[in-house]
């Protein structure tokens, strides 16, 4: 038996109070495509950044080709023949492909020779890219090929690809898979970080599944069933007694999307044309892995984005609890009262009624159980849970009939979670409409009547399964396997 190309054992890693990895293991045999699967935040990227020397493990061992190694810096990993293609490319947009590829070298820079080498490697691998083109002028698929070529020029024999197909068209993805097979056939090794189950099963020889920083499952891809993988990725998720009844509300439409879509400044369609109605008394649950389009969907509903095509009908006032409250919802250095007044900061026609804001802030502290010294406290001095309860209370107060919440319980403990979710439920209970996205499938199923799943910018209505304990339709849609 040959030595392992890469072995990470019992890896622990914390970021402050957050535990990212708790004894994770990943054993990669040479000449294989090894899929590293898991949900958002499962620790996949963190584990591989440790393997690439970008991060340092708190404890655990790392072996390359059977020898124990310590990578203090990316260059140590590069010297050991490890390359990494990051999800957000590490290319310099203002440089040409050749200049990017030459980066990190020494001595005289021979552009012609570098360009020639890129052409040669491109020809032998099928990863063709114009060596003299500026990276910012290239489409993402070509940028990715450039990044892979760069790693190959640094003589990488083990290549870590972080969600490589997230930005590719199906045809480009197929070309990438083809190259991956050729690379491993010639003795190279690939670690493929992905949350797409079908992709992993189609291309990988072996699989490791991470869940909440631990290795849940490992083995040969052709010996593991799809359902076992799904269970390992999303967990058993015992059905909850208080689960909300499935079905559609018959109330008046509060939110209506009619073929609404959104494209970014580069013209990339982030949300495909979507038609959707959320009615009074209804809570719509939204599921989706990172970058699947839910961010754009929620912002269209909340009025933070305007559709690039199609129509969005929504109430004048929509409460919005964004995922990143410190950047999108509050100003940390302002007092609670000032942060309350911010919600009406666009009104320039009169003086700020501070007394009214202070009274309203006190009311929120009371009814949402925000634990602090009073309305004059500085936002930054509150704990995350208290900040989030304040935001939930403020948005409820501002727009009692419509609320959009984006992963509102992220990072909160049980008590804070319950209070924030109550705020969402109250909207529907009082005849309004709420839309809530959460990374936690159980949370969504527990509180919503209807669930849509985002995948690759498309929004799919998922029919409730006959057996309420059956999570597989949601998990399959989340992982791009269809209903």
């Amino acid at each position: 038996m040959s030595e392992l190309a890469l072995a990470l054992r019992d890896i622990h890693k914390r970021f402050g109070a957050t535990v990212a990895l708790e004894g994770a293991r990943c054993l990669v045999r040479p000449g294989t495509v090894h899929a590293l699967l898991g949900e958002n935040g499962a620790g996949k990227t963190t584990l591989m950044r440790i393997a690439f020397g970008m991060l340092h493990a708190d404890s655990g061992t790392l072996e390359r080709d059977g020898r124990a190694v310590r990578f203090g810096h990316e260059r140590d990993a590069i010297a050991a023949g490890v390359g990494m293609v990051h999800q957000h490319f590490m290319l310099i947009p203002a440089f040409t492909v050749a200049e990017n590829a030459a980066l990190g070298g020494r001595g005289h820079l021979d552009r012609a020779a570098t360009a020639e080498r890129i052409r040669r490697i491109g020809a032998s691998t099928g990863l063709a890219v114009d060596a003299d083109a500026r990276v910012r002028d290239l489409p993402v698929g070509a940028q990715q090929r450039a990044e892979i070529l760069r790693a190959l020029m640094q003589d990488a024999r083990l290549l870590i690809l972080d969600e490589p197909t997230a930005v590719l068209t199906p045809l480009e993805s197929d070309e990438l898979y083809g190259w991956m097979r050729r690379f491993t056939a010639s003795g190279g090794t690939i670690v493929l970080i992905t949350h797409k189950l079908r992709e992993a099963l189609a291309v990988a020889d072996e699989v490791t599944v991470l869940r909440r920083g631990r290795t849940m499952l490992e083995g040969r891809a052709d010996e593991i069933s799809e359902s076992a993988l799904v269970t390992a990725i999303v967990g058993e998720g015992a059905p909850r007694a208080e689960e909300a009844p499935r079905g559609r509300s018959s109330g008046a439409a509060v939110f209506t999307l009619d073929g609404a879509s959104w494209a970014d400044a580069q013209g990339v369609l982030r949300l495909s044309p979507t038609t959707l109605t959320v009615r009074a008394g209804e809570i719509l649950g939204v599921l989706g892995v990172e970058g699947a389009g839910q961010r754009e969907l929620l912002r269209l509903l909340a009025g933070r984005l305007s559709p690039t095509a199609g129509l969005v009908v929504r109430p004048d006032r929509v409460g919005f609890i964004p995922e990143d409250r410190l950047h999108d919802a509050v100003i940390p250095d302002f007092s609670l009262t000032e942060n309350h007044a911010l919600a009406e900061a666009s009104r320039l026609d009169r003086l700020v009624p501070w007394a009214r804001h202070a009274a309203a802030t006190s009311a929120i502290l009371e009814s949402y159980d925000v634990r602090t010294t009073g309305p004059a406290a500085i936002m930054a001095t509150l704990s995350g849970g208290n900040q989030q309860r304040f935001v939930a209370g403020r948005e409820r107060q501002r727009a009692p009939q419509a609320l959009v919440a984006e992963n509102p319980t992220r990072g909160l403990d049980v008590r804070a979670t319950a209070r924030v979710l109550d705020a969402v439920r109250d909207v529907a209970a009082q005849g309004g409409a709420a839309v809530v996205y959460s990374a936690d499938l159980d949370e969504i199923l527990a509180m919503t009547q209807r669930v849509v799943v985002c995948f690759g910018g498309r929004v799919t209505d998922v029919a409730p399964p006959l057996d309420p304990a059956d999570r597989s339709p949601y998990a399959r849609a989340l992982l791009g396997l269809g209903a």
């Binding site: 990316e74 590490m90 440089f95 030459a102 990190g104 020494r106 005289h108 820079l109």
Partner: protein, 301 residues
């Protein structure tokens, strides 16, 4: 008649451009690494002082060495704060400029002997290059200049070649565009930025040294006279390239020379108008060249 005006004008343009080009080329290197060194003015005045003190001790050669050392000293403080401690570049640079002006002014008043107040500072005069200096009109302007100017003739193409044709130059530009990408390629952005800042200090110091040892022949309080800030504008006008920066420095040298020219013609206009010329030129050229941004993506961050 034309020659009588043109030759002194061109000679003065190149002479005035020389210290500006030193400072601007140093700033260029720092900015390509993503560092805007507003402490440049402070390194220049420190270079003036170091140059005067060194020259008094051991002649012009030691003067230039003292100028370079003094500039690098200020720059090393800047590097310590900005790269190691991570303070804001603008605020740190401004503080060092004020500090440099303050310390040199204090030395000038407290220990005038150190900087040679009232003494003759040994200086370098112009050296005519045989043959070339006899070329009509341009000969005197380009080839009857102090040694420092000739050093620039070599440095500018060398810097252009280094930035474009060596891996080290590529690494410098990469850090100014994306320190993360540079780190991912195995480079150390902090080390590269530190070296770039020290180089800008060296060049800023030499700017001050040239002022004292090749032009004025004395140290005066505040004699850097805003050259650090003009040098920063020169880098912008030069589109962050060595050749462009050298050209822009020459344009500014010309603006200063034009001011001498108008004054010597005995124009009836108030001379303050001519003094304003280089600064008006800065604003006009910046406005004219706007939008063609070539600035390093991570400049100042």
């Amino acid at each position: 008649m034309i020659e009588l005006l043109l030759v002194p004008f061109l000679e003065a343009a190149v002479r005035t451009a020389t210290p500006l080009a030193f400072a601007a080329l140093g700033e260029l290197v720092a900015e390509r690494a993503g560092v805007i060194n507003l402490g440049l003015e402070g390194t220049i005045i420190a270079g003036c002082l170091g140059g005067a003190a060194g020259a008094l001790l051991g002649g012009p050669a030691l003067g230039f060495a003292g100028a370079a050392l003094a500039g690098m000293l200020i720059a090393s403080v800047f590097a310590l704060f900005v790269v190691r401690i991570g303070t804001d570049q603008i605020i740190t640079g401004t503080a060092l400029t004020l500090l440099g002006l303050g310390i040199t002014g204090t030395v000038f008043h407290v220990a005038p002997a150190v900087v040679g107040a009232g003494q003759v500072i040994p200086t370098t005069g112009p050296i005519a290059i045989p043959g070339l200096s006899a070329v009509p009109i341009l000969g005197t302007a380009l080839f009857r200049q102090p040694l420092a100017t000739y050093a620039l003739y070599l440095l500018v193409p060398a810097l252009a070649w280094w930035m474009g044709r060596t891996h080290a130059g590529l690494a410098l530009r990469a850090v100014g565009e994306s320190p993360e990408a540079a780190a991912a390629a195995g480079l150390s952005p902090r080390r590269i930025r530190t070296v770039a800042i020290l180089f800008s200090g060296l060049m800023g110091g030499l700017c001050g040294g040239t002022l004292v040892l090749a032009q004025v022949g004395a140290f005066n309080e505040g004699m850097s006279a805003g050259r650090g800030f003009i040098a920063i504008a020169i880098v912008v006008l030069g589109r962050w390239t060595p050749l462009g920066t050298a050209g822009a420095a020459l344009v500014f040298g010309g603006a200063f020379a034009l001011q001498y020219l108008f004054q010597s013609l005995g124009s009836s206009l108030p001379y303050q108008l001519f003094l304003a010329l280089p600064y008006v030129l800065t604003l006009v050229l910046l406005a004219a060249l706007r939008g063609r941004a070539a600035a390093p993506a991570r400049l100042g961050r």
